[in-house]
């Protein structure tokens, strides 16, 4: 059993959603250290350990919203997957958009998983737990 604290980066502009994700992780009893960043450019700076994020830990999992200010989730995803140092980090698209074209585009950009945020908290907790189990326990990722 992997009991290490998981580093999660949440890129999400809505503070209400971010808090709900934090709470859902808590309810799902996922031991984690969650960093919340509210826009795409900052998120990429964090991942690349640039500027004030020079000492940032590289996350084990990225939860990415599609609708972000400045640089939207689709662009952030494309840049992560084009960056050799970042492309192996699993990215879960977590969004309200159920539009088929958004889902397709995300998979075309190599999103590892696409999850519509359910309106029901219990479901959401289940989703968060499943994401954690699947990406951090079941899937064996290559070591850095």
């Amino acid at each position: 059993m992997n009991d290490r604290e998981i580093e999660i980066l949440l890129i999400e502009d809505n503070p209400g959603d971010a808090r709900l994700t934090t709470e859902a992780l808590k309810e799902a009893k996922v031991r984690n250290k969650l960093t919340h960043i509210a826009d795409g450019i900052e998120g990429l700076a964090f991942l690349r350990q640039q500027g004030k994020y020079a000492g940032a830990q590289r996350p084990d999992l990225i939860l990415l919203d599609l609708n972000l200010p400045r640089k939207d989730g689709r662009e952030v995803l494309a840049e992560i997957k084009a960056d050799d140092r970042l492309k192996r980090i699993p990215v879960v698209i977590l969004t309200t958009s159920q539009a088929e074209e958004d889902i397709l585009k995300a998979y075309n950009l190599n999103a590892n998983c696409y999850v519509s945020k359910p309106v029901d908290l219990d479901q959401f907790i289940k989703v968060v737990r499943t994401i954690k189990d699947f990406w951090l326990t079941i899937v064996k990722l290559p070591a850095e």
């Binding site: 209400g16 959603d17 709900l20 958009s97 539009a99 309106v119 029901d120 908290l121 219990d122």
Partner: protein, 447 residues
Amino acid sequence: MKSASGSPHWNWVWLGVVFCIGVLGVYAFEMSSAYVGSCILAIAVIGVVVVLGRVDSRNSRLNRQLEERNRALLQERFLIETLMDHTPDHIYFKDRESCFLRINRAMANIFKLTDPAQAVGKTDADFFLPEHARQALADEQEIVRTGKPLVGREEKETWPDGSVTWVSTTKQSLRNEQGEIIGTFGISRDITARKEAEEALAQKTRELLRSNKELEEFAYVASHDLQEPLRMIAGYTQLLARRYQGRLDAEADEFIKYAVDGATRLQVLINDLLAYSRVGTQGKPFTATDCSQVLNRVLDNLKIALDESGAVVRHSQLPSVMADATQLTQLFQNLISNAIKFRNQQPPEIHIAAERRTDDAAPQTTPTGEVWHFCVRDNGIGIDPQYFKRIFVIFQRLHGRDEYPGTGIGLAICKKIVERHGGRIWVESVSGNGTSFHFTIPSGARS
């Protein structure tokens, strides 16, 4: 009729003969006897009278012919003048330099002339704005050069007072007896009313497209912007419920339950509304679609519900139609899941049939009236005829939420899908005794 002896030439011959007889008479009078001379002179006088009589009858015949010809000419002229004066179309004749030779009354009226003759020698430049006059001159010079007519061209005419009229105009070369082009002539018909109607229609179409686009944007707002705050409400009331269940009082728990319920239902409604508006906005082009394959997919999708209810589905041979396969799947799926949902005590028996026929009540979008008529029949609870129309209206439900769940979107979506395909949908049922949903898909594009 013209006889050889009746010609003017012969009159001179006769006159010559009479003259000779006259001379002979005078000669006889002097040389022979007065009696013989008188006789011969008398014959000469009679000859003169006869010849003069012939000349006179010939002249009156010529006069009659001339009169007849004049009458015919006057008749021709009368017909042409009547046409020129009374036709509402504009008629003109121009010389090679595009100066008016003649215009008719209707054209004089639009030129604000009291007499058509006032236009003679003038050009379009004297009446129209320069831009229009230049174009007309260029067209006419081309006709003079090539002899090729300009048929039924629609032209916009801008007048000096700023008003605009439209005409459908035909211009041709005007030729003399030798076939040489000596100018042009043309007829224009005022089509301003038709053009304005077309413009009004185009305007309506543009407005419709714009309002459709707004609806599409609304769909996105409904899907994203409304769901976001809704998820906040639902998420945090549920979080309250999880953390504080039993730590507040029973009333608080009940309030939270209703808040969560409402939020959940609202999300279902929003999703349904989104699905409904997407029928029109996200539809795919029609392709040849095999209805048996569609049905198999539907039965696959509904496998759990079919198994649980013990439903039996039968179908006759199903055709291939031109359709949006995704929407056709949704259509069958909605109808069959309704048949399962609104079942009686006994297990559902569902029968799907299709036949090709002429639909007299087909909407105008069906060019031939040839349709595939589909029928999805069940043995369920049936529908009271008073609700036959209402069931196709969005969010209309006939049963309590506890009895049968759902928002009342399914049949509204079915109707929208069928109508997008140019068909129609209706229902036949006896309350308590099964329901048949009928719909048509045009078979015009046979595949």
